[in-house]
Symmetry: D2
Subunit: 132 residues, 4 copies
């Protein structure tokens, strides 16, 4: 799977007093998106951790184009990026479902590590399933 779309609803907790979603919360949405992409690729992240493979974020960025508001239905589009020897990237597009307006774009880069926080090679299964 190279792409995945997840629909979520903006809660009151997500907003700030500017009346829009707080900028830090988009990184939580990115996490939700990539988790579901992995799951649908047969790679539940929970199971990866059980096999001693962790994917901490090494770099994250977000460009905010238009605000997401309370009660908006949001589409989180996650796209698999470059899979390196021991790293992987995802990019994200955040849309308001109503009108399909692009609200934000982003990227995260992750290292493959084990429980002792040592870098490990990307498991072959991961590369295989995410490039099919």
């Amino acid at each position: 799977m190279r792409e995945h779309k997840l629909e979520i609803r903006v809660s009151y907790a997500d907003t700030d007093q500017m009346g829009v979603v707080y900028y830090g919360n988009y990184l939580t949405w990115f996490e939700r998106g990539r988790t579901e992409l992995l799951r649908e690729s047969g790679l539940a992240y929970k199971d990866m951790e059980k096999q001693d493979v962790y994917l901490p974020v090494v770099e994250a960025s977000c460009a905010y184009k238009a605000p997401a508001c309370y009660d908006d239905l949001i589409i989180i589009k996650t796209i698999v990026g470059k899979i390196g020897r021991s790293s992987i990237s995802f990019s994200y597009e955040i849309y308001r479902k109503d009108g399909n307006k692009l609200l934000a774009t982003g990227e995260t880069r992750h290292a493959f590590i084990n429980r002792e926080r040592a870098i490990v090679p990307a498991p072959e299964e991961v590369s295989k399933r995410l490039t099919e």
Copy 2:
């Protein structure tokens, strides 16, 4: 130590679109308050976990009397409550520093457990230090 006061500043992240602090965030403030009370009693919670003593919350409540707003300086007053065989309670009073206005009160009750989530007796040192 039976009481502790901690001063914090309301951030934008704490607020919601009603222009006040989101109700769930008070529980985070309670945590900050009891952590500092424990620390000043010589019972750093981090060290308790290293000694295989955990204090998960079993019950929590909060009564909201007036809103906390962005950039307010807040006083979190934490008071040690009942220490049972394997439980402990704390109560909390949240004040806006400017004017010393009471904004909220709350309580949390905690169990003493170990890593395997089995109930354990309250360590004698804890009872001793918190009732001095």
Copy 3:
């Protein structure tokens, strides 16, 4: 509508280093539950605010019975409680979907207020729709 069930997925952001959902996050779940109950009753909270009716939380409580863990599917059951002259209560039951295990119960009580934070009577439509 007197009851509503909402299904959500525990994200990494929801967890803490004890490996379970942080206790404050249950209040966000309660919010999600009552928002959807209101919506399905024809009372979108967003529209209530446009009609100058706000429902801030006056009291909240939660009893934690078993931990919710990363990636769990969670059922948030919201039940309408007492509707007073200018207040309303909801109670909540949080289940792990797998095994239908009860993880937590809770309650919130809300005041009906307007933009100026003055208490207002519960709109007749609200009482009507929530007691049908």
Copy 4:
């Protein structure tokens, strides 16, 4: 003022089940840092909003170098970057106080807007105070 240092303590709420601070929370730290830099420059953000000047984030990025852990004392160093006609940038360095270890670096870029979300020029006072 061109630089500011703020000290904060990592709370349990900040952590995730990997036992480290959740990656999205660094953006909240950045916010805390720039708010205090502005305040010490005589530019309380709260007052800017009262004068109809808002500073929403247009771009944010963070590079994670080493994990922040529960109870760590953290130094948030905020540095004023480029001040454009209607934009401003800040960069950030996050240190563990113990050992002065660099944990993360980041940047945010902000637009100057008014209540109606129209772009406005950077107020002269802002440029003046932040470049002194």
